[in-house]
Symmetry: C2
Subunit: 420 residues, 2 copies
């Protein structure tokens, strides 16, 4: 994988240039993109021109960045993973693209997404085992970072579309606090849930990228954030977890304990199970509204699974939707008490290894944290020897406490590497 | 003015048809549109076809509806009041357009907006006095409803862009609770503040329109909602109010008291003055992000006042922005106590009569309620004999309590008409 922080330091030191880093990325892409299909659109000439023009003196130091293909770009097609938008070119760039470029990021291309960031699979393959999905909906961003095609790539999460593919592909990724990254120019699905996130090789790389792009104090390399306390929740309301998911979580707990870091099982208040169950009403109701035009004018071009979701959304009563918003608000308030007891929550990233390519896996471990708007980080924690598939665990922090959440995830990552 | 509720009842009774109502609208437009300039785009043939095709059996019964020209329409240009988007045709309709059409509304045209719904004036004239502004940013929707061009028209409010032009133009209008109406496909300015609203002749017309479009229990005609209690706040933190604004508010209070309705002056907690002051940081910071592409690529085509706002937004520190969000959250929570004491707040809609056409007036009376996300209704309350300009007052309710807010505004409207 391309490590953003190391590459940026090498550029700063004069050992690499934005152009040479781009060539490293293009080499990896040349070798494996045909088999992985991480990109929806790639304009190599344009990226080379941008890399040559980039000073590489600050921010992202000219590193190449991928954008999920539901993020508007004026100079590259934006197709939302749907034939309805074949060849569509938005008028304007989304702010996140311009913020990235203003921070000396080089736009490499658009990464493959499931149809409108819902469940119909993208054409992408899991880099660790081609018989398996990379997850969704941010399929190309997760797979592309895992395959070393780029050091950083943006995705979005409405259910579990950042953390889940990161777990399946064995990369670090963060879904920051709700509204930390601007959603303007990003195709909405459920505005109350939609959140931009970033994929990178390690936690420190993701933190570096988010810090450079937002101008916020989010870096965790070099700093001393002390020893966090972890509360483990197995989210019993999220259904049954596989042997592999439990192995990853147990492995993470053991690594933390070995490193002398406090870990204890905690029981979440009942309001959180309730909130988990209400994610669906908000997701489907708002999804049906967001895709009203596509459903009214191009229903024949929507996948059956998306049509079903829209119908389910149309069937959600306003009372049910309002109740879900109200429960979500109560649950958000209740998170304060959780983080009085522990610095971070540790839980599953996904209920198991990446399934086959006919579906993108299950977001059940991620719905609650998305609804709560809390920062969440995937940390690769374990690998299944038989399938070669990785399995991550999820670190969750208090709302707005993104840097300490990253720091806690970093501590876990170090512990897993035997370096804490 | 065209009264939505009466027209719908006449269509239901078979006395009018959607097509004949449209001709009434087109007659008024033919007479005065050249002098008022309420429309950015009008496609009469298309509207006639839609009216003829409309069953007129339910919902809006085929009434013509205007949409502010920051709301995406696939079949009509959407120019955001900016030369950058001259002739721009979005790919898809915004959900609010499709919801309106699904509710048997006939899309009449796009109403003139200030540049990106900020402060640079639209070409529209105040129907009551052509030397004055109709207000902004929803200039065409307010002026068009006031001139009888259509019974209902949508606007948006980020500062005071629904309530203020409604006051200047002498029409009823509601800015509902935050997120009651879907913002997908509406050009964002400040996503934490942006709210869709609806203009109509009277409060009952607005309530009828919102109910038909959302499917929510929002109608107030026919129902008995009891006698609300009003708390008057003069929003001392909002600056000095004109003689005319005070005359309108005093007139409203006197009318309520005469009708035997409880009205008392209340003092808002200091957190609300603080929240009012923080509106600016959120508005400008988020505005600078929303218009990042326009500012980066077409700065020469932005008005000086918008360029200044974007620069001010870029100068807002992240700490300042975060603090503003935090204060807004605290103030939102504090509203619960306010509405334990009274059913509705009564305050100014604007600091005075519509000013001249070189500016769109001041949103100072509306910023707090927009930031709080509370439902607000303008009720025309007074008229200045010398200028013929109207002056409204603002009724504000608890979050999510949109129907009771409309009911309270209706009671005030009746009291002002001597009918309570």
């Amino acid at each position: 994988m391309m490590r953003a922080l190391d590459l940026a330091e090498a550029i700063e030191a004069g050992d690499l240039t934005p152009a040479t880093v781009l060539e490293l990325a293009l080499e990896a892409i040349g070798e494996r993109e045909k088999e992985i299909r991480a990109f929806a659109h790639l304009d190599i000439d344009r990226a080379r021109m941008a890399a040559r023009a980039c000073a590489g003196t600050d921010g992202l130091f000219g590193l190449p960045v991928g954008f999920k293909d539901i993020i508007d770009t004026a100079d590259l097609p934006t197709e939302f993973g749907s034939p309805i938008y074949k060849g569509y070119r938005p008028k304007a760039d989304a702010p996140i693209v311009l913020m990235t470029e203003a921070a000396q990021g080089v736009t490499l291309g658009k990464t493959a997404t499931t149809e409108f960031a819902f469940l119909n699979p993208a054409p992408t393959f899991n880099p660790h085992n081609a018989a398996h999905t990379p997850g969704g909906s941010s399929a190309g961003s997760a797979a592309g970072v895992a395959a070393g095609f780029m050091p950083l790539a943006f995705g979005t999460q409405t259910g579990g579309s950042v953390i889940r593919p990161a777990s399946y592909c064995g990369v670090a990724a963060m879904k920051p606090s709700f509204r930390l990254l601007p959603l303007q120019g990003v195709k909405p699905f459920a505005p109350l849930l939609d959140t931009l996130g970033l994929f990178g090789a390690r936690v420190a790389d993701v933190a570096f990228g988010l810090a450079a792009i937002t101008g916020r104090d989010l870096r965790i390399d070099g700093g001393d954030f002390g020893k966090p306390t972890f509360g483990v929740t197995r989210q019993p309301f999220a259904g049954e977890m596989s042997r592999e998911a439990n192995a990853a979580l147990d492995h993470a707990i053991a690594a933390l304990e070995k490193a002398g870091i406090a870990v204890r099982e905690i029981t979440l208040q009942p309001i959180f199970a309730e909130a988990h169950a209400h994610h669906r009403a908000i997701n489907n109701h708002e999804g049906a509204i967001s895709l009203m035009w596509e459903n009214a004018r191009h229903r024949d071009k929507l996948s059956p699974i998306l049509r079903d979701c829209i119908e389910a959304g149309q069937a959600v009563s306003l009372a049910e939707y309002d109740a879900a918003r109200s429960v979500a608000n109560k649950a958000r308030k209740a998170t304060h008490r959780v983080f009085e007891e522990v610095d971070a929550l540790l839980t599953f990233s996904a209920p198991g290894l990446a399934p086959g390519r006919d579906n993108t896996g299950d977001a059940t471990c991620n719905k609650l944290v998305t609804l709560l708007g809390l920062p969440a980080v995937n940390v690769p924690a374990w690998r299944d020897a038989a399938s070669n598939l990785p399995m991550g665990v999820q670190v969750i922090g208090a709302f707005g406490d993104d840097q300490r959440t990253l720091a806690a995830a970093h501590v876990l990552e170090q512990a897993l590497a035997g370096q804490a």
